[in-house]
């Protein structure tokens, strides 16, 4: 109780002053300071979460009343959402006045009367929203006021830590200035930017294997670059392999095979033996032996393309789209079973 009263006294108001006058004066100070600063916390919407942190805020208020006054002053003229003005007013009062019981009603009346220069919806909001929230705030204020000295440094750090976390979670960017640091918009924006970059870097570290152990931005970046280059080299190498294999093979039925195979691959692991199943599954639906007959395949490309378009939309559910695929398996993985069938079908086709 004592520190609040003394702070109220220190700002030039004695205990004989009525609370209303004191508040009016203080708010005018804030408005002036706001016009002077024009700082980025003037983006009033940013204080939702800050004001939601009642305990830490109340503590902060006790220790840095000037800052909060400035900020709350910044809030009010902008006509923000209804909760803000009530919260701001409440928190301020919690910081300055120890007991509200006696002066409970009078500050409200003066609050609405005294803020002529401020926007109109505000006093109504503050009046309506104040009462239910007031007891909670008062309790927090009393609790935090009970032990200010030992918690001073810790609470300052907490107040530091929380808002900087908040800036990452919330859609709007707002960062509370840390103790002893500048509050100009440049440093705040820069800090937010740095945090964004660090968050992205952390996620990149998780993506690249073996990077989470490395500490230091430069080394991590080097590791990432090495990883990307090695992947690119792998792609080149594999493309060479594919180029070596490709001219011999036709690609008419491969998409069906691969759609099934990739479902298997994503499940984890893969054996060549699995492909024989696919080959045998496709045998029953085969109409054509693609390997021997390239010309016939060429004419089918159009149908296949249409089929592929349809398949792509269907493919989201199951890898069984090749049921409707006219051009089926191309590879005879199990020559013993598939070859005789191929031969029979060839005779019927040609």
């Amino acid at each position: 109780m004592e520190p609040a009263r003394s702070s109220g006294g220190g700002s030039g108001n004695s205990c004989t002053y009525t609370p209303e006058i004191a508040e009016t004066l203080r708010f005018e100070e804030e408005i002036q300071s706001l016009m002077r600063d024009g700082s980025s916390p003037a983006n009033g919407s940013s204080f939702t979460a800050l004001l939601g942190l009642a305990p830490s805020q109340a503590v902060e208020l006790l220790h840095e009343p000037g800052e909060i006054y400035r900020r709350s002053g910044a809030l009010l003229p902008l006509g923000c959402s209804p909760t803000f003005p009530s919260n701001a007013a409440l928190v301020e009062r919690a910081a300055r006045f120890s007991v509200f019981a006696a002066a409970g009603d009078s500050p409200q009346a003066s609050h609405s009367g005294g803020h002529a220069p401020l926007p109109k919806p505000e006093p109504a909001d503050s009046d309506s929203g104040e009462r239910p929230q007031r007891p909670a705030k008062r309790k927090d204020a009393d609790r935090s006021k009970a032990k200010p000295p030992p918690k001073k440094s810790r609470s300052g750090e907490e107040g530091k830590g929380k808002p900087t976390e908040e800036s990452e979670k919330l859609p709007y960017v707002h960062v509370r200035a840390r103790r002893g640091q500048a509050t100009d918009s440049h440093s705040l924006a820069e800090r937010a930017r740095r945090e964004k970059i660090n968050a992205r870097m952390k996620l990149l570290q998780e993506l690249v294997p073996g990077c989470s152990k490395i500490s230091g931005t430069a080394l991590v970046l080097d590791e990432i670059i090495n990883h990307v280059q090695s992947l690119q080299r792998l792609v080149e190498f594999l493309s060479m392999r594919l180029a070596a294999v490709t001219p011999r093979i036709d690609f008419s039925g491969i998409d069906s095979f691969l759609s099934a195979e990739c479902g298997r691959v994503t499940a984890g692991g893969g054996e060549m033996g699995m492909w024989t199943e696919e080959g045998m599954g496709n045998v029953g639906r085969q109409e054509q032996e693609n390997m021997c007959d390239i010309d016939v395949v060429q004419t089918e490309t159009q149908e296949e393309r249409q089929q592929w378009d349809r398949d792509e939309t269907q493919d989201q559910h199951q890898p069984h789209v090749f049921i409707g695929n006219p051009a089926t398996s191309l590879f005879a993985y199990d020559p013993a079973t598939s070859v005789p069938l191929h031969a029979n079908q060839l005779k019927t086709e040609l």
Binding site: L221, D222, H227, Q232, V235, L242, T246, C262, F331, V339
Partner: protein, 174 residues
């Protein structure tokens, strides 16, 4: 909390929209649907490339990269850059599809981390970019590359195994 939410959503839907979190990139590129789509495109591209120079390893690589960029649906800068570099005439179309903003070629060093410029050089189309965008693109690119490698390796293995099998069947039939 962001990561866990995105993982849950990713498991239910096959493809996720990019919301700016790099973990999204990882999840987006590892879904089975994406792999299948890429394989399809890869085969199409390979077939198209086959008409040109047959043993062209470069052609195969370019086809694979184009297929990868296509699978990205032009949502990322590197994919747009790849597609743009391939198609001379259809640059405008690709840019319109990708809804690319007018990229200001401003080599302003203030927002750029000189160490991060190295990353910009490796990722296609990300030479001069601010650091957070660059890192995002890099994460997406790494995830996409991993998927590409996996798919190409599977395809190469499949083809080589089939190639081993096919001469036998041909010999048996004839």
């Amino acid at each position: 909390m962001l990561a866990s939410a995105s993982i849950e959503a990713g498991s239910t839907s096959g493809k996720k929209q990019r919301t700016g979190s790099p973990n999204q990139a990882q999840i987006k590129w590892r879904t089975g649907a994406q792999e299948r789509i890429y394989n399809r495109r890869l085969i199409e591209a390979l077939r198209a490339a086959r008409g040109a120079a047959r043993p062209g390893a470069h052609a195969v690589k370019e086809a694979a990269d184009s297929a990868l960029a296509l699978t990205a649906r032009g949502q990322s800068r590197w994919s747009r850059a790849i597609l743009t570099s391939r198609l001379r005439r259809r640059k405008l179309l690709v840019k319109a599809v990708g809804r690319i903003r007018r990229r200001r070629r401003s080599p302003v060093p203030s927002k750029r981390d000189p160490a991060a410029m190295k990353v910009g050089r490796v990722v296609p189309g990300c030479r001069s970019l601010p650091a957070p965008t660059l890192l995002e693109e890099a994460a997406d690119y790494v995830a996409a590359l991993e998927m590409q490698v996996k798919a190409m390796r599977a395809l190469a293995d499949a083809l080589s195994s089939a190639r081993i099998a096919s001469p036998e069947s041909e010999a048996a039939e004839s």
